[in-house]
Symmetry: C2
Subunit: 266 residues, 2 copies
DNA sequence: CAAAACTGTGCACTTAATGCACAAATCTGT
DNA sequence: ACAGATTTGTGCATTAAGTGCACAGTTTTG
């Protein structure tokens, strides 16, 4: 990412052939060579390498290669939320430039909020590091409260059920005051949170039809109050959330196009 | 495929990293290096190459890499029928050894039968070549008749509608006699087909809940009759079809397992 | 049946992938 | 808060490994 690096050509070319095969659906080595501009024999050998990996197969009758089921091994590990992760990281970075305080992006995961991305490392106003992977409670953290506030009624019910079953104890059901507070203020908050000296405000991130996660701004309890921070930085937080949400709907829109093999008839 | 070739290592290694990333979901260069056994700096550079292609992204905050949506470009071109294609090619090859006559595997595609795989090239009893991509009619070819015969009622209705709309003329609706003939004989047939001197018998290939295509045996009209060929080779044809169908259900069964990223909590 | 196109493989060339080495940054434990 | 341990990023020399030419064999075209 830093200095644009010298890339590995053999890998690039192999991938290029895979891309091409995905477009065409079926092709001979010569066709692929023409399409990619890679020398024919090189194409041939790259195809063999791909075949050895079980990614492409060759028709026993025709000379053409095509994709095999195992190509899924290259992409099945991808999950939608990863895309959001990238976005969140970028936007959090931008926000840090305006707001000095660090912030986290977290998702609801099995009863608690799982921090997925953070700018703690880059903020001079943070003592924490290694935030990613840590968890915050659903009820007492600003992040958790934001998710609860951003959820639809049915979604919230599901979240509460999951939380109860994974925590093994009943969840506090006085959510109403929390929701009211959120609608009044426009954000959720917590004071003296996880370690007694940390406070935060947070907003939910909403996807197409569900709450994806939440983003917060973290500050020292003795340094300021939620109200003061909100006054100064809520707009930044809001536009950060908006940017992430925009990215989500954008990636959701571009429906992946499957193109079947449509050889020309004679 | 022939002599196991010298594979391209750089490509293999890059793919290995992608595989690993698909398993783990999220990893630092060092982790990937350990997991794959590839030198750390090499791993690092391969990751950069993958990143340059837009396949993986790197968290701006954390050091870990993860997959991006574009990994789908590596596999979206794959279609289920391709898997069948490979199978069909192999099985047709096997059948050719027993039955001297050439045979084709074809699928229904926009109103006609599209030949996808063939052993014409390898049969000494064929004058044709370049069969793949050619088309046979739905009503007068053994292949087409086999698909009609193998379809369920609702499926057949769909096939007929598609055919009518793409041919622009009404389809013959006297299918009943065809079906009756099929159930009586156990195969479909055509005499003096596409070019006057070619005959064939055929069987449908059925997938989980739909007709996938059909396989035929082709012979010279003056050399034999459908009845004679069926007597000699229908068993071979049947076991060929059975092998392909077995392969289809097998690949359909192995449901692809998606594994989400489940980072450990602190 | 001759010409053109394509496939498969050996081989020589030198590009380009690789891993070591080192500096810088980051994390960990006390 | 500080020192040791771990990890990251990059330059560079080495040579392994990717690449394309050449040629023989096969297939397709006209």
């Amino acid at each position: 990412m830093e200095g644009t690096y010298k890339t590995v050509r053999a890998l690039e070319r192999g991938l290029e052939i895979l891309f091409e095969l995905n477009k065409i659906g079926r092709a001979t080595p010569a066709q692929l060579s023409k399409a990619t501009g890679i020398d024919r024999t090189t194409t041939y050998r790259l195809l063999h390498t791909l075949a050895a990996q079980g990614l492409v197969g060759r028709s026993p009758a025709e000379d053409s290669f095509y994709l095999l089921r195992d190509t899924r091994r290259l992409s099945d590990g991808f999950i939608e939320t990863d895309q959001v992760l990238w976005l969140a990281g970028v936007e959090l970075g931008k926000m840090l430039l305006k707001v000095q305080w660090p912030s986290d992006y977290a998702t609801f995961d099995r009863g608690t909020m799982l921090i997925q991305e953070t700018t703690h490392r880059f903020s001079s106003l943070s003592v924490h590091r290694n935030m990613v992977g840590r968890r915050r409670t659903l009820f007492s953290s600003a992040l958790g409260r934001a998710v609860l506030a951003g959820a639809t009624d049915s979604e919230r019910e599901m979240i509460l059920q999951i939380t109860e079953s994974s925590l093994g104890r009943p969840a506090p059901r006085n959510i109403d005051s929390l929701l009211e507070d959120f609608h009044q203020r426009g954000y959720t908050w917590s004071v003296g949170g996880s370690e007694g000296h940390i406070s935060a405000i947070a907003l939910p991130i909403k996807g197409k039809d569900r709450v994806v996660g939440a983003v917060n701004i973290v500050f020292f309890r003795r340094a300021s109050t939620p109200e003061e921070i909100a006054e100064k930085h809520l707009d930044s937080l809001k536009s950060c959330v908006a940017a992430i949400e925009a990215g989500i709907t954008k990636t959701a829109e571009d429906t992946r196009s499957l193109h079947g093999p449509t050889p020309e008839s004679s």
